[in-house]
């Protein structure tokens, strides 16, 4: 079973939860930019939460499924269609052979995901299918997807009365999104090691101003546009480990938020860290303005736990739904 890339997008790659345990050797963690979308889509399809998926920037790839498939799209909304009909995000779809999936217009977000029931086997490197384009390993031959690539997907038992060639059924159930108290453009952050070295006006400015995520931002880092933030540092910093979500201040006062493909260590002042529960939100804030709000560790952890319980509910509900489909 495989899908064919009919037209390549700007940045289509196979991703999963990323590889951990190798950063001390200089291997980037990688993994889906929107980990929550990765997990939700997999659970929606009855997969283990970290099965490999295709991550796409906009414009995204056009795909034909050569054989029968059960899939869903989610994360960013790029106005998907299946066999020419509108396809809402986060709905499972049963599609017959030669069904075509396309993404037409940019609606919102930064990264859209295509997940398949059974998952994509991909090329495993260091315990992850995440594509590392610098080392050219993992995912699909260690590179972005190209026109006429045939990407295999696992076969899993299919329900009876499956749609025929170029036909599909969009299932009526879907995954709801997870929400907290924050406004749409509000990103929660924890103070970083060098937060206290920022001038009072710089701190005020950081927490009150609106920043624009520069379109040149990529999987390594999001560059924020806005006037510079002032910092007073006596000593030069030594390079130290940096995290997904670390907010660094570049020379000249520009802000960069480190993302999934960041290097394992960095040497710029760490003024903050996006809380883990808001990493998916900032990842999807490409072409958007954002504001930062400092929160406590308690808040950061509560939101992460709340996100987890949302996922567990989704998992249980979907197991039940799929059991029912196969009983028929």
């Amino acid at each position: 079973m495989s899908l064919r890339i009919i037209k390549a997008g700007v940045h289509d790659s196979i991703q999963d939860q990323g590889r951990s345990g190798y950063q001390h050797l200089g291997v980037s963690q990688g993994g889906a930019m929107d980990d929550f979308a990765l997990k939700s889509l997999n659970l929606l399809l009855g997969n283990p939460r970290h099965k490999a998926v295709i991550e796409m920037g906009f414009p995204a790839a056009s795909v034909v499924f050569e054989q029968q498939v059960v899939f869903a799209v989610g994360g960013a909304d790029f106005s998907a269609t299946i066999n020419g009909q509108p396809l809402p995000v986060m709905h499972p779809v049963l599609a017959g052979e030669k069904s075509s999936l396309q993404f037409h217009d940019y609606k919102n977000g930064g990264w859209a995901y295509l997940a398949i029931r059974g998952g994509l086997p991909g090329n495993l490197w260091l315990n992850s299918c995440s594509t590392n384009t610098r080392v050219e390993r993992g995912g699909w031959q260690g590179r972005l997807l190209r026109k006429n690539d045939y990407i295999p997907y696992a076969s899993k038992e299919l329900p009876d009365n499956f749609p025929g060639r170029k036909e599909h059924i969009i299932l009526p159930w879907y995954s709801t999104s997870w929400k907290d108290q924050s406004a749409d453009d509000e990103i929660y952050v924890l103070p970083g090691r060098e937060w206290e070295k920022i001038s009072d006006s710089g701190k005020k400015y950081f927490s009150e101003k609106t920043f624009w995520v520069n379109p040149s931002s990529d999987r390594m880092g999001y560059i924020l546009d806005g006037p510079p933030v002032e910092i007073e540092l006596q000593e030069e910093l030594l390079s130290a480990p940096v995290q997904f979500g670390t907010i660094q201040l570049l020379p000249g006062g520009k802000i960069i938020v480190l993302m999934a493909d960041r290097q394992s260590i960095g040497g710029y002042p760490r003024i903050g860290h996006v809380i883990s529960a808001h990493l998916p939100k900032i990842a999807q804030s490409k072409n958007k303005s954002i504001r930062f709000t400092l929160v406590t560790m308690e808040t950061a952890e509560q939101l992460l736990l709340s996100q987890e319980s949302h996922l567990l509910q989704l998992k249980n509900a979907c197991i039940f739904k799929w059991e029912n489909i196969f009983k028929k």
Partner: protein
């Protein structure tokens, strides 16, 4: 036996804790980091994901969902992680120092590979021969790996060779040996980079297949470079990573 110098321990976001021993590059401090690294990875606490050592700091990544089971009273998961880590730190003073490997690394300083030797000569007002002799005279310590798989940050470079970072990163070939400030290092892959290139080594800096990766250098290695000719470079068989 290590005596433990003063340190700061703090959260780096909601999934990592960092221990920092000041801001000065120092072999003794780095030795403690290395000892901590080996002890932490050998005796991980429940929920520990990975440990990343650096010059004077070490960061421990944890899974808050797993660690949430260990929380006492009303403390945060982050505070629980700090508590678990502080227990481990205290053990370090009882550990034996690690044996550091000594490695001699061939470098071809021929202008074919030493793309920036003229820039370095102009900046330092020394001849290429003198520059090469100084670069080869020091026994460097590998302080950490990062940036690319197997990229070793080594120091300290002789003051007379201090070079600023390039303004714009340039394309650099795998094996290129670079210098910047106190640091010297080797690019394991073709990559953009901002360090001034002084030569190239024929050594392979990492080998990987499937689920294994082996790097040529490890933190704590003591490294000395020796010059080889272009012919020796071409015929070099390597000792394997």
């Amino acid at each position: 036996m290590h005596s433990l110098p003063p340190y700061s321990i703090f959260s780096s976001g909601d999934m990592a804790i960092t221990i920092e021993f000041g801001h000065q590059i120092n072999p003794g401090v780095n030795e403690i980091i290395n000892t901590l690294y080996h002890y932490f990875t050998g005796n991980p606490f429940r929920g520990c994901i990975e440990v990343v050592p650096a010059y004077t700091s070490i960061t421990i990544y944890y899974d808050p969902l797993i660690l949430s089971g260990q929380v006492l009273n009303n403390e945060t998961i982050s505070a629980t992680a700090i508590r678990e880590i502080e227990k481990l730190i205290q053990v370090v003073s009882k550990l034996q120092p690690l044996q550091n490997r000594e490695i001699n690394v061939p470098v071809c300083y021929d202008p074919t590979f030493a793309l920036d030797i003229t820039t370095i000569a102009d900046h330092t007002k020394m001849s290429p021969a003198k520059i090469i002799a100084i670069h080869c005279a020091v026994r460097y310590r590998v302080y950490m790996l990062g940036f690319l798989p197997g990229f070793a940050y080594m120091g300290e470079v002789d003051k007379r060779l201090y070079m600023p970072r390039k303004k714009l990163p340039q394309k650099i070939a795998a094996g290129s040996v670079g210098i910047t400030g106190k640091q010297t290092g080797i690019y394991p892959l073709n990559s953009p980079g901002g360090w001034n290139i002084i030569g190239r080594t024929p050594e392979q800096l990492f080998e990987t297949s499937g689920d294994t990766i082996q790097t040529f250098f490890e933190p704590g290695d003591i490294v000395q470079f020796y010059p080889i000719s272009i012919n020796e470079f071409k015929n070099y068989k390597g000792r394997g990573a």
